[in-house]
Amino acid sequence: MNTGNDYDINNSRNSGEPLIRLENIGMIYKIGDISYEVLKKINLLINKGEFVSVMGASGSGKSTLMNILGCLDKSTSGSYFLEGKDVSGLTSDELAEIRNKKIGFVFQGFNLIQRLSILENVMLPLYYAGLHSKDAEKMAFESLKLVDLFEKGNKFPNQISGGEQQRVAIARAIVNDAPIIMADEPTGNLDSVRGADVMKFFEKINGERGATIILVTHDKNVAGYARRLITVKDGEIV
């Protein structure tokens, strides 16, 4: 396992504290008078540098869980410790900063901004990190180069294929050198060859950068790249 500390995270050095610790996380959606318990008392530990895949039936709550892990959404009960720090009580701006600095998210849809060019899409996390100008452009191009899209920077999302859009989304997720990469169905729109390429890419950044990778998939082959498999069923980890 990678012991390098490129991603200096305040409290992770001093103890055996895992990167992610979920304690009794529950999520209840209320629609009108009816409430849906989508996640039930989830307990989960993920260490730094792990490569975890999450599987489960459609509607089992995988995306909901990922949203909570990615600090996009707050659980309705339980506690979430990221690097030992309870993030349940943070303000939306503090969560935004965590998302920006520590988490690279690849969404189930591609979620690219249509009216921005590929390059601008990839630059966006840097922009919100306060990085502008030529440096940011250089980093974005580096990132595009890693996913083999260096020469498409000036195109727009609707001018490239679905698989290419997925790779742009990945380039955007890794551009900030985030220590945690989360991907929801990153290969869902790709053929098996392209899918394998993407997985090899995740393997690479897991190995070389020591990034922690958590990905959701339906595909057993894809899940096979991960070193740990988590299965969600009816809102619970089994």
């Binding site: 939306s92 935004a96 900063e97 600095k101 969404f107 990085l131």
Partner: protein, 414 residues
């Protein structure tokens, strides 16, 4: 990373502007329609203010053309607020009153005036015009020099000489292109030698052609044409602008004494300060301008509501984009800033186009009407700042709404 921080912050703002600009260009027609209200609002502010300033310049000019620090004494009762029995009908002012006024402290010079419409004949031509009896001080009081020839002098007034100075319009009507100097004209069947022609003065504030006139010595007028011992008016030039008020009270006191008016009785004449009247007209023109400009400002506000409306639509349309931006680290303030910059750029651009429209309207007015409009920088700057404020004010609510979105829900939006 921190070394170029300053530079980067400066750059970031330009980047924000550029991105707002690009966004608005993507929807050219919609952006244009949105700012139409602002364009019309600013355009009409610029145009109305330019009309107002042109009008007040015109009034200023007519003040100057009227003569320097001029007072006019008219027969009649001032306590009744005006001339009751018709202009100059009451025979209360005499030429001796005029001569007495000349001795006053604050008075520089004066001229009795007696006007009357008469037919003037030169060879086969005749023209009915205003015959004005005046003193030799006329040119000085009215600031109205002769263009050629000379004005009659004091001697000619004393001796009631048959000399005339002709206005431009009357000269053209009678003489055509020939120089009138030295010719004999008949007024009331009496021959007069034309010794001078006045410069062109143009129309006065009431639309009368001031050049349609023949000026002769007041004495000649009284003795040979009107056959009266009284004058229609006495024109007085005060020494300075400030002296006009003093002159007014001095004249009132003097004439009351000369006319033997007891303390409790009203005067049989009144003194008008023409500069004051003109200034009153000027300030009412200013009031009118303010009124028009505020109506225009209301249309700016309406334009602001248009911007708010479109920004709300835009925020809803771009919910997904907002979700994506938040998911990758945009803070509330980042989203707020993005939409505020967009609405400000929109309205400022509207303001700039509006200034162009205002210029166009005001120069069109200048070329198609006698009024010469004046565009100054002040209303331009004020309306640009105002339209920027409109953008910020009306863009705030939509931007605020965008910044409060929940990222997960926003991402789910299709």
């Amino acid at each position: 990373m921190g070394t170029k921080k300053q530079n980067k912050v400066k750059f970031a703002f330009l980047l924000d502007l550029e991105s707002a600009y690009k966004t608005l260009l993507r929807n050219k027609i919609r952006s244009l329609l949105t700012i139409l209200g602002i364009i019309i609002g600013v355009g009409s502010v610029i145009a109305t203010v330019s009309i107002g300033q042109g009008a007040s310049k015109a009034i200023q000019n007519s003040i100057n053309s009227m003569g320097s620090n001029m007072l006019v004494i008219l027969p009649g009762s001032s306590s009744l607020g005006g001339i009751r029995s018709g202009f100059g009908v009451l025979p209360t002012l005499t030429l001796n009153d005029a001569y007495a006024i000349r001795t006053l402290q604050a008075v520089k010079t004066d001229s009795g005036m007696l006007g009357m419409s008469q037919q003037v004949i030169w060879r086969g031509n005749n023209w009915t015009t205003l015959i004005n009896g005046a003193n030799s001080t006329f040119t000085e009081i009215r600031k109205w020099p002769v263009a050629r020839g000379v004005f009659f002098n004091r001697q000619q007034v004393v001796s009631a000489a048959n000399v005339a100075v002709i206005g431009n319009t009357a000269a053209t009507e009678l003489f055509g292109l020939i120089s009138p100097i030295g010719h004999i004209i008949l007024i009331h069947s009496i021959p007069f030698t034309v010794i001078g022609e006045l410069t062109v003065k143009g129309f006065n504030a009431f639309g009368q052609d001031q050049d349609d006139v023949v000026v002769i010595p007041i004495t000649t007028m009284m003795e040979k044409i009107a056959g009266t011992t009284w004058v229609h008016a006495i024109m007085v030039s005060a020494k300075t602008q400030k002296d006009t008020v003093l002159a007014q009270s001095e004249i009132t006191a003097l004439l009351r004494q000369r006319h033997h008016i007891p303390l409790h009785k009203p005067s049989d004449f009144f003194v008008r300060n023409l500069t004051e009247i003109a200034q009153a007209a000027n300030s009412s023109a200013a009031t009118f301008t303010i009124l028009l400009a505020s109506i225009a400002a209301v249309s700016l506000l309406v334009g602001g509501i248009g911007i708010m409306n479109i920004m709300l639509v835009s925020v809803t349309e771009r919910t997904k984009e907002i979700g994506i931006r938040m998911a990758i680290g945009a803070k509330k303030s980042d989203i707020l800033k993005q939409f505020l910059i967009e609405s400000s750029v929109l309205s400022l651009f509207g303001g700039i186009l509006g200034v162009g429209l205002g210029f166009a309207i005001s120069s069109a007015i200048s070329s198609f009407s006698p009024l010469k409009t004046i565009v100054t920088t002040e209303p331009i700057i004020i309306s640009l700042v105002f339209s920027l404020c409109v953008g910020i004010f009306f863009g705030f609510y939509p931007a605020f709404k965008a910044s409060r979105m929940n990222p997960v829900e926003a991402l789910r939006y299709e």
